[in-house]
């Protein structure tokens, strides 16, 4: 199983699409590692500097509604994976992106709008987020204090994370 948690990258916008996460011009790569330096390169977000991603130590992304909409490219979870980001928390996800995350054994956590708003209140300084996978909860801490929040994922999604992904799960079962 992957490890989940660490420094948080806040992306304060809805509808961040997979073209922004990893532009099509890099889809000619046939290895995941080759994507590494292009994470969020075309993200349209005020005061966001894609260059800063080169040295980012983020391990968790927190964003708004409909995260990962657009193209089906699994390169989007992969570019996070090779940058050691295994958790994305958002108000909602596009279906294919959410499924791709769990299929890769990664976590896509959906939370109600007010809870997401509370998470964003930790934004500004540096925030850490540690997931307790077995308890379906995480703790977020920053200069503003610490808070523990529980989440719900489906039993299937949980089983995919435990198995290490859909290939492993399906292989054992079908």
């Amino acid at each position: 199983m992957k490890t989940f948690g660490g420094k948080v990258l806040f992306l304060d916008r809805s509808d961040i699409n997979t073209d922004e996460i990893i532009p099509a011009r890099y889809l000619t790569e046939i290895s995941k590692d080759a994507l590494k330096s292009h994470m969020l390169e075309d993200l349209k977000l005020e005061a966001f500097d894609p260059q800063a991603m080169q040295t980012s130590e983020a391990r968790v992304i927190v964003s708004r509604a409909n995260f990962g909409c657009g193209s089906s490219r699994e390169h989007a979870p992969w570019v996070f994976e090779v940058n050691d980001i295994n958790v994305v928390i958002a108000q909602s996800f596009a279906r294919i992106f959410r499924q791709n995350m769990f299929n890769c054994g990664m976590l896509a956590i959906e939370l109600p709008e007010d809870v997401i708003e509370r998470l964003f209140s930790h934004c500004g300084g540096s925030a850490e987020l540690i997931v307790d996978f077995n308890k379906d909860s995480f703790t977020i801490s920053s200069a503003k204090g610490a808070e523990s929040i529980s989440y719900v994922i489906s039993r299937f999604d949980k089983a995919l994370v435990e198995a290490g992904g859909w290939v492993e799960f399906a292989d054992a079962r079908y």
Binding site: D15, N17, D19, E20, P23, A24, R25, L27, T28, E29, I30, S31, K32, D42, K44, A65, N66, C69, G70, S71, S72, R73, E74, P77, S92, F93, A94, R95, I96, Q99, N100, N103, C104, S154, R155, F156, A159, G165, W166, V167, A170, D171, R173, Y174
Partner: protein, 431 residues
């Protein structure tokens, strides 16, 4: 119990329900292209599982970047070619026979009412036009599909859209679907199937229905669907004539997939298209849509007519109707990519290719081309493209570029003016 079309397909294809709410379906057709499949193939090889569940149910095309533009895309093509040979997959479409997947595969008769279809491509929803459940998936789902012939889904809820009224002159399926996406928003149909119903849809060609279903994903939908009817049977007849005694028998069979009276919809929307203006996007999301009259006069640098949304023969006929005897403005670069070799050939025979060339357009081979900014037709930063494609995301056609989505009619009018223009102000000529 009254069921929707999608629910009927889920029942008939259910292989397993590992947990409540998770349905693992048997897949009838797994479609592959060179961008999302090679990594799946490499992974299967690495895992020592270089097999396929059924070579006859796997359809493969090289379409996004073809002919290859550099070493990397050549390598992607090569991985696919070697694999197809190794696995004895016979439906493989390479240079000379290839075209945009979602235009090519229907043309080959690969999609039937009631089918389950997956592909590592979000616009797989296009094939729902045949009354199939067709969903875009990622590479891992594709990999398992290739290996096991299954895919897991949450059972989708259905949104029904009744499209009625009189379709105004110069208004097409693209305008209707842009209008629908505006209403639903880019996330309004997440985890849903959109059913396109109503008299307007009944009177639409398969091509137009594919344009509708193609853009269902832009509202977040898993699939768009139309009820299979006489039009569907007519389109499929060359491929199914040996399976049925006559067309009526085929229709009667296909009707079993129709959503039942009284089935459960989570939302029903009635859309009267009478008086609808041509529609166009203005921002970086496909739900940012305006009437053409609010957008006229904005200059553009490039016109792109093509893609899985609007690169079919019907679309080229519309655009050519406006371009006939006219020229694209000298300030714009016009590019047209007929979606498949069949479309190209028909366009040639009908004199449409000549009309485009006389108007100053560059005619490319069938390919995704400019649609996703990784092949030809890439925009420079600050440039804008009037495009018949389906996505206007930031950077979609090249870093710093802007895309306006529109119908082939609006694209043609815009080409002539060099600025966003209303096709209702031009005469559409007989071809």
């Amino acid at each position: 119990m009254a069921l929707t079309l999608a629910e009927k397909i889920f029942r008939s294809h259910l292989r397993d329900e590992p947990f409540p709410g998770t349905k693992v379906l048997d897949i009838d057709v797994v479609m592959c292209h060179e961008i999302t499949t090679p990594i799946a193939i490499n992974d299967l090889v690495e895992r020592g599982k270089d097999r396929v569940f059924d070579p006859d149910r796997i359809k493969v095309v090289i379409d996004h970047v073809t002919p290859a533009k550099d070493t990397k895309t050549a390598q992607q093509g090569r991985i696919l070619r070697d694999w197809v040979r190794r696995q004895k997959i016979k439906d493989f479409f390479d240079i000379g026979r290839n075209g945009v997947c979602h235009a090519l595969f229907p043309e080959q008769g690969f999609i039937r009412p009631g089918y389950t279809v997956i592909m590592g491509d979000s616009h797989t929803c296009t094939h729902g036009a045949f009354g199939a459940f067709a969903a875009g998936v990622g590479t891992t789902d594709l990999e398992v599909g290739i290996l096991k012939g299954v895919c897991a889904f949450r059972e989708p809820k259905t949104i029904r859209i009744n499209i009625n009224g009189t379709v105004p002159r110069a208004v097409y399926a693209k305008d209707i679907v842009l209008r629908i996406i505006k209403e639903l928003t880019v996330k309004g149909a997440t985890d849903c199937v959109i059913e396109f119903q109503g008299d307007v849809v009944k009177n639409m060609s398969m091509e137009s229905r594919m344009t509708l279903c193609n853009m269902a994903i832009e509202a977040g939908a898993t699939s768009g669907v139309c009820m299979p009817d006489e039009v569907t049977v007519e389109y499929l007849w060359p491929f199914i004539s040996s399976e049925y005694a006559n067309k009526q028998a085929a229709l009667d069979d296909y009707k079993k997939w129709w959503s039942d009276n009284g089935c459960a919809y989570i939302k029903v929307i009635d859309l009267d298209v009478t008086g609808l203006e041509p529609q166009i996007t203005f921002g970086f999301r496909p739900d940012e849509v305006k009437n053409i009259s609010e957008m006229e006069g904005i200059p553009v640098d490039q016109i792109y007519i093509g893609s899985c949304t609007n690169g079919r023969i019907e679309d080229l006929r519309v655009a050519a109707g406006y371009l006939k005897g006219r020229s694209a403005a000298s300030s714009v670069r016009g590019i047209v990519s007929p979606a498949t070799p069949k479309v190209f050939r028909e366009a040639d025979e009908e004199g449409i290719i000549k009309i485009f060339m006389d108007a100053g357009f560059c005619v490319t081979n069938p390919t995704c081309g400019a649609c996703l900014g990784m092949s030809n037709g890439v925009l420079a930063p600050g440039e804008a493209c009037a495009s018949t494609t389906n996505r206007n995301f930031n950077g979609r056609m090249g870093k710093g570029g802007m895309v306006y989505l529109m119908s082939p009619a609006v694209a043609a009018a815009t080409a002539i003016e060099g600025r966003i223009a209303d096709p209702r102000k031009l005469r559409r000529e007989e071809l």
